[in-house]
Structures are given as C-alpha cells and as structure tokens.
C-alpha cells in the first residue's frame, strides 16, 4: 500500500482549549498533528467589534483557528501586524506583503436594528492588491460563531479552490466509565469540536450515528432496551422514534441520499446479519443480501443506486458493492490485505474510505474506485470509523491514544491532520454532517 508516511507521527503539540461545552461533557481539545510544508501565509486582522452584541466572540480568532487547523494556512501573529485596518480600502497592500502575508482578511461585526448581528469581511491579495471577496453574513447573535465559520469557508474556497467545510457539524459518541457503570452520550458539535450539544444519554451502548442528508436528523443504534434498536432523532428538538427493533441484530443505519430510506443491518432470529433497506414513511422493508456470512455496514453510493458493505463471505472481512434492489449480485471491491471494513464513500463517489489491517494495525485507508489504488492515511493501531467531510477534502475518524479514544482528522491527500481529544473518557464514531443550506 502506498501510504504517505511523511506525516510526522506522534507530535504532542497541544493546544487549543475550546470553551464551548455547555450541556455536554467537557470540551474537546485540539492539537495539530501535521500540515503542509508551505502553508499559505495570511493575516486575519481583528474585526471591528460590536460589543455587547457579539457576545464576546472574537470572530477573527475563530477564522484563524479554522484556517490554521486545516493545515493549509499559516496566520500572521497579531503582534507582528503592521496595522489594524477593518475595511478593504484601509489596507496598504505593500505593508502586508512586507510582513510576509500573501493575503489579508479584514472585517466588521455590527448590530443591526432587527436585533441581528452582521459580519462583513473583505479578503485582499496583498501581492496584487486585488479584492477577492467581500461578503456579509447576518443572523441571530447566537449564530455569530457559525458566521465566522462561513467566513472561513469563503476564504478557503477563494484561495484553494475547494469549498470549505468549517460551517458544518459532526456527531460522535462519548463514553465514560466501564461496565456496568458506563455512560454513553451522543453529541453534536461544530466541525471544530466547539459548541457541543448533548443529543442523548444512556447507560447502554449508543452506536453508529448517521446524518440525514438535510442535516436535521440523526439515525443511530441504542441498546437502551437491552436489545439493539435503530432510532431516528430530530437534532433540534430531541423528538425521536424507534424505527427497527426486530429480533436479533438491528444495526448500522445509513441514510439514503434522498433522505427517505435507511440502509441497515438486521440479524433476524437466526442471528445471521444481512443488509436491508427500510422505507421510513411506509416502513416497508426490502432485503438486499441473503448470505450466511456477516453482511453489515452498508453505505449508499451518492447516486443512491448501489450500496457498499462489509462481508466476510470470502472468509475475511472485505468490502462489496451491490445494487440497491432485491436480487442484485454483489461485486467485491477490496482485494488488498486480510481485513477491509466499514466503507464510506466520498461525496463525488470516486473514493472509498475504510478500515484496513495494515501490518497488524487497524488504519484508515482510501481506495480510488476507478484505479483500485489504496493509500493508508492514518498511523495508529486502532483507528476506525472514517467519515468524509462534505467537501471530500478531509476525513474524520477515531483513534486510540493510550487509554483514551480521540477523534482525528486527515486530509484525503494525507498531508494534514489534527486531533480532538476529550479530557476524560473516550470519544469515537464521528460522523461528519452535510453542508448547511
């Protein structure tokens, strides 16, 4: 396998304490584990504030954290800034070029008469003096942090040509304690780990969160009845319903691209897990696989016409593709190594992320579906549960860091990464949500 092993390994550069834990357990801490060799130098000048409407949020600091966390940018420290403009017309390009910044971001937060708060910003190329973006995001004061992430998204896209995924959310499972005194929490947070929101808490396992394509719902597995069940829950209100608690295994729900169905694993009373599709409105169930092997972990191709899944029908866990209709025949997709499982498909359908057994260690790998080329992207021993960012540029996954489970990200080119750690207990099974409208 052609793993980009250039990522510097075990760096313990810790660093950011995110302070947004409100109802959930303590905040995640972020450390940047690797980055590109020549990040883009950029200056993000402190925005003009609108105290107290901005709630104390330093928008420029959030933007700087987003961009540096991507590993693609290097921000000019504030104490080295030659000036403090807040509008594009106040920028003396030569001054910033001299300070080593190719780009300058300036902006203003203002309170509107409607009670909303507006963020205006300009992105200027200090080498050419050209203004690359001028944009306003307005919203409720509580959405200011999200507006800052949207600013980051625009800057990322204008400079790198790829839509940023900072203004998105992740779901994950946090676990504390050991049986029988375990505590499981299903948590939703901003993509940077801030702004945590407790969705569900249980003494019994919670597993396999999956976002609906509109970002409103989560599907997941709960053992709260001492039996596995698949549930769907509206993130905003907490409203939930059980959609499957049949005999045997009920697991691995994955929302269809049209949001109307779940692919899932059902074991039945015979205990043999197979892949099914559940229509959420009609509750009609369609069987997709019928094999004595363990068939599980289905995920939809972006066009909704086929599913990828894990099966040990050939003697060890490998990934297969099958049409999303009864009677379809599976086609084997992975051939390298003795263990490839838990597939996820990139948003453009071209790449398959998976867990692979690599020299005795479980690692995150990406297979190019056209060429079959596999690249191992992570470097832990028990890495699992990769999930693509909606822009396809980054994967989030979970790793074991000593006795703790942490979340980590890696760019799909393997060049940049960071880690999100819980100060206690374990965080795992991250699922990256869709772009917000």
């Amino acid at each position: 396998m052609l793993g980009p092993r250039g990522i510097a390994g075990a760096l313990a550069l810790l660093v950011v304490a995110l302070c947004a834990a409100r109802s959930a357990q303590a905040a995640l801490q972020i450390e940047i584990t690797s980055g590109v060799r020549d990040p883009v130098p950029i200056a993000i000048v402190p925005f003009a504030r609108a105290v107290p409407a901005d709630g104390g949020l330093d928008v420029a600091e959030v933007v700087q954290h987003d961009l540096e966390g991507s590993g693609r940018f290097r921000a000019l420290p504030r104490e080295h800034m030659p000036a403090t403009p807040t509008r594009a017309e106040e920028i003396a390009a030569a001054l910033w070029k001299g300070a080593g910044s190719d780009y300058v971001v300036v902006g203003r937060v203002s309170a509107m008469e409607s009670g909303q708060v507006a963020v205006d910003f300009d992105l200027v190329n200090s080498l050419t003096g050209a203004r690359l973006a001028t944009q306003r995001f307005a919203g409720a004061p509580g959405a200011l942090r999200n507006a800052a992430h949207r600013v980051s998204d625009v800057i990322y896209q204008k400079i790198l040509g790829v839509r940023g995924a900072f203004a998105t959310r992740i779901a994950y499972v946090a676990v504390d304690g050991s049986p029988p005194a375990q505590r499981f929490q299903l948590i939703v947070a901003d993509a940077d780990g801030a702004n945590q929101h407790l969705v569900l808490e249980s003494r019994f396992p919670l597993m396999s969160p999956s976002w609906s394509p509109d970002g409103q719902w989560l599907a997941y597995v709960s053992f709260e009845t001492k039996h596995s069940g698949v549930y769907v829950q509206l993130v905003r209100s907490g409203e939930r319903r059980q959609v499957s608690a049949r005999a045997g295994v009920n697991g691995a729900p994955e929302w269809s691209p049209d949001g109307r169905k779940l692919a899932l694993t059902l074991g039945g009373s015979s205990g043999n897990p197979d892949i099914y599709i559940l229509d959420l409105a009609s509750q009609d169930l369609t069987r997709i696989t019928d094999d004595p092997a363990i068939d599980t972990e289905p995920v939809w191709a972006p066009d909704g016409h086929s599913l990828y899944f894990t099966s040990d029908r050939a003697g060890s866990a490998q990934i297969y593709q099958i049409g999303a209709q009864p009677g379809a025949r599976p086609k084997r997709i992975t051939f390298g190594g003795s263990y490839n499982a838990r597939p996820r498909v990139s948003p453009d359908g071209s790449q398959l992320a998976m867990v692979t057994l690599d020299n005795g260690a479980y690692r995150v790998a990406v297979q190019d579906l056209a060429s079959g080329t596999v690249r191992v992207l992570s470097h832990g021993r028990l890495d699992e549960s990769p999930s693509f960012a909606p822009n396809g540029a980054t994967l989030i996954y979970s790793e074991r860091d000593g006795d703790r489970g942490a979340l980590a990200t890696v760019s799909t080119d393997g060049l940049t990464g960071l880690r999100l750690k819980a100060p206690q207990g374990e965080v795992r099974e991250p699922a990256w949500g869709p772009f917000n409208p």
Partner: protein, 185 residues
C-alpha cells in the same frame, strides 16, 4: 518524503466560546434514554409489530450455582465463534440444566475484543451467541428458553488493550432471567 514534512509549530489559540448557541441548536437539554420498558417509546411511532423486546420480563436473576453452572462465560479465539476447551463443558452443564428446568430462560450476550470495526463486531458477537445457542439446543434446551443479543466490542469485561485483555473480552455471557417461560398451551 520532504513534501510531506510536518508543520512543527505550536499554535496557541484560545477560542472564546460563543455565549449563545447556534440558532439551529436551540434545544440543549439532555435527553436521557427512556428506561427499559415496553412502553418506553409511547407517543412515538414506528416501533413495529416485530418488536420482540420483552424488556419488562428480562430481569436478571442469580440462576443455578452448582459446579460448572456457576461459570457463566464462554471464551473464543480471535475472529472465531467455535466453542472449545472448557467452554464445551460449561455449555454442556447449562444445556443439561435448561433441559431439566424447561421454564428457565437465559439470555446469551455475545461480545468481541476491540479490534476491527464496531458493527462488524456486532455481527461477530451475534455469531458467537448463536454458536452457544445452537450448542444448547443440540443438547436438549428449547428454543423458547434462549434469547440472544450482541454487544460487539461495546461492553468489554476488562479494560486494557493487549492480548490478555482481548482474550477475556471475546466471550459469550450466559445470563439467567427471573421471569419463567410461560407454560406451553
């Protein structure tokens, strides 16, 4: 290699929390999972006619304690669901007891070690539970006496991340239930 060099810089950024949550996340109240009761999801829809969770009847009991019956755990090799060694004797003892006490019920809880993906491990834990179930049935127990559940790697018996811990976690637990089997019609 060089183009993949790391950014070995310590970045110190202190993020200030937004004092208000995202508008889209207005409801912040934790939702404890409802207790294990058949009507736990009252007011919701879609429980389905196939809901076999007789959770209210699944109170765990002490069960028999004589000899091998006090042993409630059967262990397995990596990625295997084959009952072997003393596990064979343990299963035989429980099969004999269940055959002689036809109103007694057990739940077989299948578990795996932490290696591999979580949902695959749910499948593997189920396969182990089914392996014990089949062995019990072959030796005289009745289908109605036995239920299975797989927790995969979610409920390890011991912490730790080495072979010694993994060996203790690859198991099926035999849990005796207090509610007797309803007499046959």
């Amino acid at each position: 290699m060089t183009e993949k060099a790391s950014m070995r810089r310590v970045i110190v950024v202190l993020l200030v929390a937004a004092s208000l949550a995202l508008g889209a996340c207005a409801a912040k109240r934790p939702k404890p999972a409802p207790p294990a009761a058949p009507d736990a999801n009252a007011g919701t829809q879609g429980s389905g006619a196939n809901n076999t969770n007789a959770a209210g009847a699944d109170e765990e009991g002490a069960g028999p304690q004589a000899g091998l019956l006090a042993t409630r755990v059967v262990y397995f090799d990596f990625d295997s669901s084959e009952i072997k060694g003393t596990g064979t004797d343990v299963v035989a003892a429980h099969a004999k007891y269940l055959t002689a006490h036809s109103d007694t019920r057990v739940r077989l809880e299948g578990h795996t070690d932490e290696r591999g993906s979580r949902e695959y491990n749910i499948g593997l834990g189920e396969r182990r539970a089914q392996s014990v179930r089949r062995a019990l049935l072959l030796q005289g127990a009745a289908d109605a006496q036995i239920s299975t559940v797989s927790y995969g790697e979610e409920r390890p018996a011991v912490p730790g991340h080495d072979e010694a811990a993994w060996a203790k976690n690859r198991r099926v637990e035999i849990v005796y239930l207090t509610q007797p089997l309803a007499p046959k019609q």
